[in-house]
């Protein structure tokens, strides 16, 4: 196994022999980080004093230099000093070691290896402050159920306390911390605080701790066993399921997670992403070299710690492309990366690819169209392993640093003036164009959708049934039409085949009569009389996602057992079905279908108003519920219902549609995996359709359909685009005004900013 050199800084906390005073900092490395940095960290992560030393605490810290935030892992080793104070009490030493995260991330070092390397040093190490640490081999770990539970519960954002390990040696507990951390993306170590011992009567802010009794707000995991996870802890159940998958090799998963070194927080904005990475790790969906922003050092690569605007660009692009997620302003655990996770992804608000594609490594993400990637230079930030002296006074809370970072753009005077001028020019141009367009626009109200009898040239009419459950098929076809270069116009009709246009390009969606549910595995049948006479021919069939899905209580039944219960009788499995008789004749009757298809199932009917009731009461192990009820229930979904007969819509296309359109529709229809229809991905029909089209028909360069769309929009109604232009111009003008107002006050303090007295002169200042 290869050893790597890791730099560090240190401080020693204790008492002088015979001292009357309390614990204090006795000495420190006095390199880049001053005593105030260590004072803060030691006061923040105090765990109490164990009678059984040594013990280890893992803390995290961020240092801010100018606008750049650097993450550090702080390892504190507490041990007896061999000295006594004035009242003859034993003195404990706490040795604090600051290690740059990116050094660890590059070599993926474990806590245990780091502890072994640092604990062997003298109490006051002398330069060079470098230790050799072996590289981490995550596949050597054997996670027990307790570690899996702890990792899954950590992904709820709440702290986890391990109890019942009083007699377990410290080094074994430290290894447990490593194991839990290995079950999370490596980048979460930038926020994972942990300790091998904490006082049960002391309050602390550690996420993962060992104690005799768990604190009030923490999940309790029993050493060697696990935890009780209730149905309320939906995410924990889901993550636990991901960690216990049989379709993924543990070694692959651990290797994949160890490579994900992008900093990730335990805040609400990052936890969904972490869970998704957990899902993809080891499943082959992640590129083998997917490390995110902080990658293994390559010659000429950017220095991730130094960051700089260039790093920002890379980070922001990486996050936006890879893992968009909701941002939670004011959250304690905010990700330090600005601009990466802004806003909840919505269809239309971000490109479809941004919403739905699996994680992609940064390297695979090219610069966004119209943006110029920044290339950092030596002046843009310090080189690796050299942190400017102003960092000495710059330990800040991550949140503070981030806030500052968001508020203070890192441009110089020149850049600011340029930005003001650019925004002002943009504002004038946009407003001017918008006003002119509005003046030239014809009067009257904009035409209502579907108002026009005919269609514009280049438009494909999509004639489809109006049902809510058919929205997925409609959107799928519409998106595919757009992707082939046409503009789509959806027309809803109860009898789409009869009212389909003949002369213009058109796609018709007609319902396929359901196969006999009593015949297991029966294939869908084509309509008896397709409107072939009108020049339409069948292209493909689209399965319609069922309105109901099957959810289960992971604490009561395993997914394999539930799936097996649909294949052969199992007296233990009980499933509740909602009573849908009150919802009209058009509503499917899941109970009726199940009784016909799986007569051996033990079904329990529950009111349609509360379909989860029996599951909550643990009267059943699984429940068939509408998607909207399953979405927020916290229960994992089973794909056992995938074999149920579902409706399908047949795509018919006329000759005017052309071969390209038919091929595209066929490709998209074939890309649907019926087994995945029950998943959350299909809860939102618009998003699901966009994602499928994006994955099946990658966007060609030169985006013809978009240009076509814009042109037709302009021709159809120039009023709204004009108004949008004016609004955009106003926003740009406002930004220019803001920048202009802030300009003098932003420059003045920097010019006269005094350097910390102990800080040596910066070579680039």
């Amino acid at each position: 196994m290869t050893d790597h050199e890791i730099g560090f800084e240190w401080a020693l906390e204790g008492k002088r022999p015979g001292a009357h005073d309390d614990y204090e900092l006795l000495d420190w490395s006095d390199d880049r980080l001053g005593p105030e940095v260590f004072e803060k960290i030691r006061s923040r992560y105090a765990t109490g004093l164990s009678a059984d030393l040594p013990q280890v605490t893992i803390a995290v810290a961020a240092t801010r230099e100018r606008e750049q935030v650097s993450h550090h892992i702080v390892l504190a080793a507490q041990e007896w000093s061999g000295h006594r104070d004035a009242t003859n009490r034993k003195i404990a030493y706490t040795r604090w070691f600051y290690v740059p995260y990116q050094d660890l991330a590059v070599h993926q070092v474990s806590y245990e290896a780091l502890y072994h390397a640092l604990a062997g040093l003298p109490a006051t190490p002398s330069p060079p402050l470098v230790v050799r640490v072996p590289e981490f081999d995550p596949t050597a770990l054997v996670p027990g159920s307790d570690a899996r539970y702890a990792a899954a519960l950590l992904l709820t954002g709440r702290p986890v306390c391990v109890v019942g390990a009083d007699r377990v040696p410290m080094i074994e507990r430290l290894r447990f911390l490593d194991t839990v951390a290995a079950l999370l993306p490596y980048g979460m170590r930038t926020r994972l605080t942990a300790a091998t011992w904490t006082s049960s009567t002391a309050r602390h802010k550690l996420r993962l701790s060992f104690a005799r009794h768990a604190p009030e707000n923490a999940y309790e995991v029993r050493w060697g066993h696990g935890a009780e996870i209730t149905w309320r802890d939906g995410r924990a159940n889901v993550c636990l399921g991901l960690l216990a998958r049989h379709d993924v090799q543990l070694e692959d998963m651990l290797r994949g997670l160890a490579g994900l070194t992008d900093p990730l927080s335990f805040g609400p904005e990052d936890l969904p992403n972490a869970a998704r990475l957990l899902e993809y790790a080891g499943s082959g969906l992640l590129s083998p070299d997917a490390t995110g922003v902080w990658r293994k050092a390559k010659p000429g690569s950017e220095d991730p710690r130094a960051g700089g605007p260039g790093a920002d660009t890379v980070v922001a692009a990486g996050h936006r492309k890879a893992l968009p997620g909701p941002s939670a302003p004011g959250s304690e655990d905010r990700d330090p990366v600005p601009g990466g996770g802004g806003g909840v992804p919505e269809a239309g608000a971000v490109p479809p690819a941004a919403v739905t594609v699996p994680y992609r490594p940064t390297a695979a993400v090219g610069p966004a169209p119209g943006t110029v990637p920044h290339r950092p230079t030596a002046a843009a930030g310090p080189a690796p392993n050299t942190v400017p002296p102003s960092m000495r006074a710059a330990l800040g809370e991550l949140e503070q640093a981030d806030r500052e970072r968001r508020l203070r753009p890192g441009w110089g005077l020149h850049g600011k003036v340029t930005m003001v001028v650019a925004f002002a020019t943009l504002a004038i141009t946009l407003i001017g164009t918008g006003v002119v367009a509005m003046l030239l626009a014809p009067g009257g109200d904009p035409p209502a959708a579907g108002d026009s009898a005919g269609t514009e040239p280049g438009t494909v009419v999509v004639q489809a049934p109006p049902g809510q459950e058919d929205a997925f098929a409609r959107n799928l076809v519409a998106k595919a039409v757009q992707r082939t270069g046409y503009r789509s116009e959806i027309r809803l009709s109860d009898a789409p085949a009869e009212t389909a246009p003949v002369a213009e390009p058109a796609v018709v969606l007609v319902e396929i009569p359901p196969a006999d549910p009593a015949l297991s595995g029966a294939l869908p049948t084509w309509p008896v009389d397709p409107p072939a006479a009108q020049g339409f021919s069948a292209v493909a069939a689209i399965p319609v996602p069922n309105r109901d899905v099957l959810v289960y209580d992971a604490g009561l039944i395993k997914p394999e057992k539930l799936t097996a219960a649909f294949a052969r009788p199992d007296k233990e499995v009980r499933i509740s079905v909602p009573d849908t008789s009150q919802e009209g004749p058009s509503r499917e009757r899941p109970e009726q279908i199940l009784r016909q298809r799986h007569p051996w199932l033990h079904l329990e009917t529950v009111p349609g108003t509360d379909p989860l009731r029996a599951l909550r009461d643990k009267a059943v192990q699984a429940a068939i519920v509408p998607r909207e009820a399953a979405r927020d229930s916290g229960y994992p979904r089973s794909e056992a219902l995938a074999g149920m007969p579902s409706r399908s819509l047949l795509i018919l296309c006329n000759q005017a549609g052309g071969r390209a359109l038919r091929d595209a529709l066929d490709t998209v229809a074939r890309s649907i995996d019926p087994g995945r229809l029950a998943s959350e991905d299909f809860d939102s029909p618009v998003t699901a359709a966009a994602r499928l089209v994006e994955s099946a028909l990658p966007s060609p360069s030169g985006a013809v359909p978009h240009a076509g769309d814009r042109e037709s929009d302009w021709r159809e109604d120039p009023f709204w685009p004009a108004l949008s232009l004016v609004a955009a111009g106003s926003a740009a003008g406002f930004l220019a005004l803001l920048l202009g107002i802030r300009l003098p006050t932003r420059i003045e303090p920097h010019r006269h900013q005094s350097r910390p007295p102990s800080a040596p002169a910066s070579p680039d200042s």
Partner: protein, 331 residues
């Protein structure tokens, strides 16, 4: 099992306040023993498993191991319930009184390292905006309505820094209480039990003896000397005269300035008490030291049995006074 949000919370918060080594942790460790040995029918029970553990472990360490507890490195919180004798309900129409539920006082005790009160961080740091420990300390003092203030006369004689460990936190506390409108009668709303610790040290005992402040409880089989609560203030004043820095008298003045006289009580306290020979079972003026200082690399040990003096009394006084202001709700 996952956390139970309905876990019982204390009715009254009490903070321990004193310089490093003044005996805060030892006093708490001796609480269970003191209550068990007292004639009062008061009991102390942990309100949560961690607080019960503390009582059990520290009691065992003092009784069996004869060892003093180690210094704290962070703020520890204990939730205990003091259960007293059953209250008697007056009978209806002059009938015989009936026993009611026992007196019950829930206390949340916090024990912070003495250094947190000290001037090491500088007064400016005590505004709570810098060091999170100080923020926590002030938050806790603000939330508490009872304070056990420990004055270590031996440390004062050696270093003379009791006032240093008092005035900055006290000033900041007053500032906060004033801002919160809790300075109604010109004083802090807190009750404060001032404990002159290490009463078992010969120098302290001799000072009390010279001032003729010692009494003996006739019901005490060991005939241990004590200082009544009324005389403890005079003992405090007398001990202030030997302060190494000469600032100890300012502690007394600051107490009078910031706390209402009705809300201050003095106690001469010893957590381990005096040594009593097992055979004679009588206090011996020629052989009463119960603490054996450790040699070079040894712990200080307790020589004989523990006979805590005025350990329970400050807690009960505070508990009863606070309960009288805001009675405990017995469900």
């Amino acid at each position: 099992m996952q956390p139970d949000p309905s876990r019982e919370r204390p009715d009254h918060n009490i903070a321990m306040w004193g310089a490093p080594g003044s005996g805060k942790t030892t006093l708490l460790a001796a609480l269970f023993i003191a209550l068990t040995k007292s004639d009062d029918d008061w009991k102390i029970i942990g309100s949560d498993p961690a607080s019960s553990d503390y009582l059990i472990e520290k009691t065992n360490a003092l009784l069996r191991g004869k060892l003093f507890p180690e210094a704290n490195m962070t703020m520890e919180r204990y939730h205990w319930t003091l259960l007293g004798p059953a209250l008697r309900k007056p009978g209806f129409w002059s009938r015989k009184a009936k026993p009611g539920p026992p007196a019950r006082i829930g206390i949340g005790m916090t024990d912070a390292p003495g250094g947190w009160y000290g001037p090491a961080g500088g007064p400016s740091a005590l505004d709570g905006s810098g060091d999170p420990r100080l923020q926590k300390l002030l938050d806790n003092l603000e939330r508490s309505r009872g304070i056990v203030f420990l004055y270590d006369p031996i440390r004062e004689f050696t270093l003379g820094d009791a006032f240093d460990h008092m005035h900055a936190p006290l000033t900041r506390l007053a500032e906060r209480m004033l801002a919160a409108g809790e300075f109604t009668d010109g004083k802090l709303p807190h009750h404060i039990a001032v404990c002159v610790t290490k009463f078992d040290d010969p120098r302290v005992l001799e000072t009390a003896e010279k001032r003729r402040l010692l009494t003996v409880d006739i019901d005490d089989p060991y005939r241990l000397p004590r200082v009544t609560s009324e005389d403890a203030r005079e003992l405090f004043h007398e001990l202030c005269q030997v302060s190494a820095s000469g600032t100890a008298d300012m502690v007394l003045k600051a107490l009078d300035q910031f706390f209402h006289p009705d809300r201050i009580r003095f106690f001469a306290t010893s957590s381990i008490g005096f040594y009593v020979d097992r055979r004679t079972k009588r206090f011996d003026w020629d052989d009463f030291q119960n603490m054996v200082p450790g040699e070079a690399d040894e712990d200080s040990r307790i020589r004989g049995q523990l006979h805590p003096i005025n350990v329970v009394e400050p807690m009960l006084w505070l508990g009863q006074r606070l309960a009288a202001i805001r009675p405990t709700v017995v469900s």
